[in-house]
Amino acid sequence: MTDALDVTLRLLAVLVAFLVLPLVVGQTEHKVMAHMQGRLGPMYAGGFHGWAQLVADGVKFVQKEDVVPAGADRRVFQLAPAVALLPYLLVLLVIPLGPGDAVGQAVDAGIFFALAVMGVGVLGSLMAGWASANKFSLLGGLRTAAQLLSYELPMLLAAASVAMAAGTVSLTGIADAFEWWWLPWQIVGAIVFFVAGLAELQRPPFDMPVADSEIIFGAYTEYTGLRFAFFLLAEYAGIVVLCGLTTVLFLGGWQGPFGGDGLGWFWTLLKTAVLAFVVIWLRVTYPRLREDQLQKLSWTFLVPLALAQIALTGVVKVVIP
């Protein structure tokens, strides 16, 4: 009985995190972008500095008509948002918040699980792009696929490097093995992982698949109402997942300068939040990359860097056992 209760509580906690954290990131994005651009951002909804803006947006999306284009492939079109969103919920389940069993569900091969399931989420964009029967959507889907294929490799290689360093592929094990000098040692891998993750999420400056000035909104052009909101939510859930993974893999997870294991959850959340701020910052700072620049960055820059990081990790691991 207590086992069932334990599992239920864990699932509930992960579900709440999944529903709340993306909205927090979204609202932060509203405000941070606004202040970086010298304006206020949403100020009215909810009273205090427009904190309820995204809730209001959600209510608006629910009220909108759910349109499926006449020429579209109905079933695939309607299924796509769920395929895009649910994988992030599953990944959130395995990201440890603190030491020991402060994790939704400990998975032995945690890195592989997280990266594999994140890759499945992209299928949702592909399905949406194809099923919409719209040439802009199809172009968006094509760009999504091309981007995923080129950025999956450096991301995996960077993750493999840190797994080699820790001698385990379990997320809890990696954060447990972390020492402060891993930061300079694995810094190249961390940057490669983070940049490739941004590209996989299609965040600016890698938002070629949804480039609104060229192909309207890529694979999501034909979507309205709640299904469109699901795609947006998937993007923000993706930010939370990417920042959480980077924190656990490269920044030591729950390890902090003081507070011990009791404050572990605080350090994890703080590092994740700082990374999420960087994600927003990059969006405001850099212009969108062109498709060929995007491919070039991955194949001629990130992949060699990731390979060099793996070589460095191997050498250090052999020299200092």
Binding site: D73, G119, L123, W130, G141, A145
Partner: protein, 179 residues
């Protein structure tokens, strides 16, 4: 502990059910007349296979299956379909006249594989209660201690395929220049 076919455990029942779903989606995948739907049914079949690995305690293999086959191979397939021709609805012109031959080859290959697997693992049982036999550690140890040579041979094969792909694409580019 005795192992009987007449008193299946929960895991065995789940294994059979997932197997039926996998087989069904695989059959739909080769018989459907909609190209992209075939690729999407392939996702279901490959995902079902990953669940089967998971039920056999081979956790690492299961995630790698999802990562490589669903995350990369199917995405590449869809990319290729979208680049060439992926109409919404039926595409009867994509059918080939080789249905009979294909069925024969598939049945022969399946029979050979099932025979080999049954012959090799007839009396092998996986103990579900004790330590897992398919963890990353166990998989890695057996792969790099007992199966290093096949592993390396496979990497050479992949390298050869990679070089071949580069040669083919470069040749076509050179011909394009002459025109």
């Amino acid at each position: 502990m005795s192992h009987g076919f007449l008193s299946p455990t929960g895991v065995e029942i789940a294994f059979v059910l997932v197997g039926v779903v996998t087989l069904g989606s695989a059959i739909v995948s080769v018989t459907t007349r909609r190209l992209v739907h075939a690729a999407l049914w392939l996702v279901v079949a490959l995902g079902g296979l990953a669940v089967e690995y998971l039920l056999l305690t081979a956790e690492f293999i299961a995630w790698v299956q999802v990562l490589i086959y669903i995350g990369s191979v199917v995405v590449l397939l869809l990319f290729g379909l979208m680049l060439t021709r992926a109409p919404i609805g039926r595409s009867p012109d994509a059918d080939s006249g080789n249905r009979g031959v294909a069925l024969g080859v598939a049945v022969a290959a399946a029979a050979a594989l099932v025979w080999v697997v049954v012959d090799a693992f007839r009396t092998t049982w996986i103990e579900l209660d004790g330590a897992s036999a398919g963890t990353t550690k166990a998989t890695g140890e057996s792969l790099f201690q007992h199966w290093v040579l096949p592993f390396e041979a496979l990497s050479v094969l992949l390298l050869a395929a990679l070089v071949g792909a580069i040669v083919l694409s470069r040749k076509r580019a050179a011909e394009g220049d002459e025109r």
